[in-house]
């Protein structure tokens, strides 16, 4: 994994469709680390995360044409990855230990929040961890209510009520 490959992600995918393993390895090299880290923030069990990453790239190898050709390949990979993680959790019947709680808010974060998100970041920050987890799963991760309920290990009804509560709180905070 040393040679620099100049092909774009989309070009790699079309090469993979022709059975190009070098392209597949390059795609894996580019995308498996961040996917691993991002999935780790949803699930603290390394074995489960690794299996989800493996399943994700297996799915990519088998159906590279599922990528529609528009949008970021990384976003497409994330969509597969988070669903494979949910499958994995369901298969192993493991309940999800809560994702790590926030630690001290650093100066860097304050700058980030102030410049990039304005009030939204602060409002998100003030949500309870339960509500925030639901917002993250549905809004930011793009999951359906049912998928979010599997990921978080709570009933779908709870996902809906928490989402509407979070929406109310955010609306008030941003008003």
């Amino acid at each position: 994994m040393t040679k620099q490959d100049v092909r774009s992600d989309a070009e790699l995918l079309s090469a993979i469709a022709d059975g190009d393993r070098v392209a597949f390895q390059e795609l894996y090299r580019r995308h498996s680390p961040w996917l691993t880290l991002r999935l780790t923030r949803r699930c603290a069990m390394p074995d489960v995360v690794d299996q989800a990453v493996q399943d994700t790239f297996l799915a990519v190898w088998r159906k590279p044409k599922a990528y529609q050709g528009s949008g970021e390949v990384a976003a497409w990979l994330w969509g597969i990855g988070v669903r494979r993680l949910i499958d994995q959790l369901r298969r192993t019947h493991k309940s999800l230990p809560p994702v790590q709680e926030e630690l001290v808010v650093s100066a860097e974060d304050r700058v980030l929040e102030g410049t990039e998100h304005g009030d939204l970041a602060g409002a998100l920050q003030r949500l309870s961890p339960e509500l925030r987890a639901v917002v993250q799963a549905t809004v930011l991760d793009g999951l359906t209510t049912r998928e979010a309920s599997r990921l978080l290990g709570i009933p779908t009804g709870t996902v809906k009520t928490r989402m509407s509560r979070a929406r109310t709180q955010l609306r008030e905070a941003l008003a």
């Binding site: 390895q25 894996y28 580019r30 995308h31 498996s32 680390p33 961040w34 691993t36 880290l37 991002r38 780790t40 923030r41 390394p46 690794d50 990453v53 493996q54 790239f57 297996l58 190898w61 970021e72 990384a74 976003a75 994330w78 994702v99 790590q100 926030e102 630690l103 808010v105 650093s106 860097e108 974060d109 980030l112 929040e113 990039e116 998100h117 939204l120 970041a121 602060g122 998100l124 920050q125 925030r132 993250q136 930011l140």
Partner: protein, 283 residues
């Protein structure tokens, strides 16, 4: 998408990797990573290379492993243990071609019952033979591609004896039952063929502890056809219609049904008692 001025600093990425950032910052980083290859490259240094390499190795193993067929995948989906799924998927009489042949035979018997003479006569003659043929096809060197593997496999004899015929009987008997619903029976229950079918099948398995199961099945099928044919022939010689003659077969009379029930019980006892010979037979 490189027009964004914002990039994550190495220090921030490091803290993201260990979970030491606020929720808002993490969301921000994650949204950015989706569209920024440079930052993806940067964060990649935060994951241990041995870890991603190990996943890659396993991925390659999985790519090179033969992919289970649709039947096997379906069984695995139902949480059937993988060795049992492989055993079932390799059963000749569970293949699509076999099941199609069974369905075609049944279709013919049902059609004959509606169009030809003798109502369900042909159905009553043929139905008991289908499960027998299916179970015979589940064994033996000539038909089973997995015979050599079964020889070396440590599965217990009884497991091997029960799993395949169980699955074969379920599919074949199920198909036959469906077909039986479409046959206009007169005076004989639509399930009357069931006990003869089971009787013949279990007897073939019991005989399989002594001789080859396939040969035993052929012998039993011949005996059934000869006995039934003789009975029908002599009945029709006495002026009876084909339908009456088939219905009057001893096997479909109460005494005959009881006899086949007894055959099932005796055969099953023999199979269980002599189960170890199945490993011997295949070997």
């Amino acid at each position: 998408m490189n027009d964004t001025a914002w990039h994550a600093s190495p220090a921030l990425m490091e803290r993201y990797a260990v979970g030491d950032v606020s929720h808002a910052a993490a969301c921000s980083i994650e949204a950015h990573l989706v569209s920024c290859a440079d930052c993806r490259q940067l964060v990649a240094t935060q994951v241990d290379a041995p870890r991603t390499d190990a996943v890659w190795e396993r991925l390659l193993d999985e790519l090179d492993a033969p992919r289970p067929g649709p039947v096997e995948r379906f069984l695995l989906h139902l949480r059937v243990p993988d060795h049992t799924a492989r055993l079932l998927a390799a059963t000749p009489s569970l293949r699509a071609s076999w099941l199609l042949a069974v369905a075609a035979t049944l279709l013919f018997a049902v059609a004959a019952a509606h169009v030809g003479p003798g109502d369900g006569a042909i159905f009553l003659l043929v139905a008991p033979l289908l499960p027998l043929a299916g179970v015979a096809g589940a064994y033996g060197r000539t038909m089973d591609p997995a015979a050599e593997i079964s020889t070396a496999s440590p599965a217990s004899g009884l497991h091997l004896v029960l799993v395949r015929p169980g699955a074969v009987l379920t599919t074949t008997v199920g198909l036959t039952l469906l077909a039986a619903l479409a046959v206009p029976f007169d005076g004989v229950g639509a399930a009357a063929w069931l006990l003869p079918a089971l009787g013949l099948t279990v007897t073939a398995l019991a005989a399989g502890t002594v001789i080859d199961t396939g040969r035993a099945a052929i012998g039993l099928a011949a005996a059934w056809l000869a006995g039934a044919g003789l009975s029908i022939w002599s009945d029709m010689g006495g002026g009876a219609a084909l339908s009456t003659a088939a219905r009057d077969l001893a096997a479909y009379q109460p005494a005959g049904q009881l006899a086949f029930l007894a055959l099932v019980l005796v055969g099953a006892t023999v199979v269980v008692a002599r189960r170890t010979t199945f490993e011997m037979e295949i070997a």
